[in-house]
Amino acid sequence: MIYFDNSATTKIDPAVLKTYDAVANDFWGNPSSLHGLGDHALQLLQSARQQIADLVGCSAAEIYFTSGGTEGDNWVIKGTAIAKHEFGKHLIVSSVEHAAVLNAAAQMEKLGWDVTYLPVNKQGFVDPADVAKAIRPETVLVSVMAVNNEIGAIQPITEIGEILKDYPTIHFHVDAVQSVGKNLWSRVLPERVDFATFSAHKFHGPRGTGFIYAKKGRTLDTLMSGGGQETNHRSGTENLPAIAAMSKALRLALTDEVGKAQHELNLKQQLVDFLSQLADITIFSPINDNFAPHILCFAIAGVRGETTVHALEAKGIYLSTTSACSSRSGDESSTLKAMQVPEKLATSAVRISLDDANTQAEVDQFMKVFPEIYQRFERMNGRG
């Protein structure tokens, strides 16, 4: 099996799973319990938080555990809306955000909020000037993702942050789910970013857990009301085995980050070179500084993405039609649509997403079997 779908999810690291298992067995007390078992669990919880804070480069009090990226995105958007509704009811999000951001914003529209959806250019990038234009006195939040999950475009977070320095009261949220371990840290979390969302299963951690960075001094209302866990910001008994496992996964993911990103870029380069030679292929994720090293989105003209996915699966190669989260709905890619890619081409798009565990042999194998599939589609379309 060749797994090229790492932006959908990654395989849990065996060492991380071992941590999950050890914590579930040995630290099963509730961190809120007053007795020794609870205290032991609490200390692990705080150590896991400290380790993540050290890796992110913030203080432990700025890390809050969640159930994953979707919760993180929802929390920052709705939590900001609840906390700041008296100051204004206007949100700015990019039109290429993950569905967790877009649908949370759409819910706020139902409640009477105004949402500006920032356009992107033909390459998939937000123009910081558009952010400046969209800001109004009643704007309370700007949310722009770090790395687009469908095409891998790295959005100009630093430049948007520069603009927002003139608007210190606006919350700046970055969905950083796709950016961990890709040697992009300084471009994902520059100084001006107030909130960032992370998800463990995108870096070989367990499902159902994630965290947000929330800058000290920024107010965010809670979505999960209850027993007051996470310093009363996110109630619910802490998922300690998953949290400890995530902390370890993050540490491992950031070990030799530069080497891993270079390896992925090297594989992506070969795939791009290979696919570029084929006449009816369009590549949406070129090799350059503004695209992540691990995501490669391309389309075969006249062939539905789904068909390509199944044809490759028959050869033991797994990839996605753009975002796995929406790929079952049959919709065209929302990012490509926002880039004004014609609908027919957009529905043909597929996404390869790499990881440092992918090998040269796997890429060679892909390049060996792909021409056969491609030729078959060419013949079917009367081109070959």
Partner: protein, 405 residues
């Protein structure tokens, strides 16, 4: 800058006449204890100041420790050189060159205890001033409030140069004022009271009442951790834990609710005094602040203080809570103090304690109890431990935690 020594200037003790020798001896002992980890240092206590030879030790680390020792007015890292005019000029210029980017004005301040030296104070000031001005024309000499003061001291053994004076912790060397017991609950106020006691030279020992199962092991651990936070000012502090469960239960059983707290406090104070008497303590310190809670009104103090004639000193008596918190944050005890564990003061707290208890009633209710026997049993159960600044009580078994992360 490669500093070779640190010059330590004494605080108030310089004015203390005949006791001076004892003060200097005690300060020397405290400094030696505080700097024990640095094996290459040489400490020379002199009559007017103390010299610490660094012998290559990192001076930032040494100064961080020194800044916590009471009895020090200020200290300066300095460079010791041979008594040679050219070397003096060259060293002065090097120091000023390093500081020049952050300053506009300077002054040379020379003192000379070696009156046989070839130049006098004014000549040295002028010579160095000219030399520095010639080489660093961006600096101007200014006598009043210069950005940099370069101090030059010509002594019998060598010349010392320094450009920085760092404020010390002030106060008096701990131990010079005798020993006292501090009633340490675990709240915000009592550690601050302990810090202020030490600042005035008082050696303190912690008296902590614990009442299992009404108070938890973690509350005891918290009190010990707070003690560890105060240890750097003295090296080590004795921690005296007094079992209080039986007294608390007996008081609860037989004293009317309004007087529970008053009678409990009378027992605590008596026990603290007993400890002081046994251990050569001269006074009791506590963290009471006038009017802060029911037990800290003047009427309550009258009703509680009644049990002893030993001096009770309340360093934070007239401070507002915010002022106390400010010090707690400075000495890094605040975050520990606010950990939410029940302590001896909060359990059995009646909903409406008397804010104006009457002394006669307090005495009357207390007489219903066999106080002597209760106290004797509590004292028999006393445990004393010595606490160091690096001791850890609240975190346990980090190895298994680190192994899974």
């Amino acid at each position: 800058m490669k500093y070779t020594e640190i010059t330590v200037r004494y605080g108030e003790l310089s004015t203390k006449g005949k006791n001076r020798r004892e003060f200097i001896g005690r300060l020397n002992g405290n400094v030696t204890k505080a700097l024990a980890q640095f094996s290459d240092l040489h400490i020379y206590p002199k009559r007017d100041r103390m010299h610490i030879s660094l012998n290559g030790t990192n001076y930032d680390a040494v100064m961080a420790k020194l800044s916590k020792v009471f009895g020090i007015q200020n200290f300066s890292p300095s460079i010791k050189i041979a008594k040679d005019i050219d070397l003096l000029k060259q060293t002065a210029l090097e120091m000023m060159t390093e500081l020049a980017p952050t300053a506009k004005t300077f002054k040379i301040n020379t003192r000379r205890s070696d009156h046989t030296f070839e130049m006098d104070t004014n000549q040295i000031n002028l010579m160095l001033g000219d030399y520095i001005y010639d080489n660093l024309p961006e600096l101007t000499a200014q006598m009043k409030y210069p950005d940099i003061t370069l101090r030059v001291e010509v002594r019998h053994d060598a010349i010392y140069l320094s450009s920085e004076t760092i404020k010390g912790a002030g106060g008096l060397p701990v131990g010079t004022a005798g020993k006292a017991m501090l009633m340490l609950s675990g709240g915000i106020d009592s550690p601050v009271a302990g810090y202020l006691a030490m600042k005035r030279g008082v050696e303190i020992e912690m008296v902590h009442f614990f009442s299992p199962p009404y108070t938890s092991d973690r509350a005891l651990a918290k009190a010990k951790q707070l003690t560890a936070k105060l240890a750097p000012y003295v090296g080590t502090i004795k921690f005296i834990e007094v079992p209080f469960t039986e007294i608390q239960e007996e008081v609860k059983r037989s004293v009317p609710e309004g007087y529970l707290m008053t009678v409990q406090r009378r027992f605590m104070l008596r026990l603290a005094v007993k400890m002081a008497e046994q251990r050569n303590g001269l006074a009791i310190f506590n963290g009471e602040s006038v009017g802060q809670v029911a037990s800290q009104t003047l009427e309550s103090m009258v009703a509680i203080n009644d049990v002893t004639s030993m001096p009770i000193i309340r360093p934070v008596a007239t401070m507002d809570k915010n002022e106390i918190i400010e010090i707690a944050e400075k000495i890094d005890t605040f975050d520990l103090s606010i950990l939410p564990f029940e302590d001896c003061c909060t359990i059995f707290a009646p909903p409406r304690p008397k804010t104006k208890p009457r002394l006669d009633k307090a005495r009357y209710y207390e007489a219903q109890l066999d106080g002597e026997a209760l106290m004797a049993r509590a004292i028999a159960g006393v445990k004393i431990t010595e606490i160091h600044s690096h001791d850890e009580f609240l975190t346990t078994d980090q190895t298994d935690i680190q192994s899974v992360l």
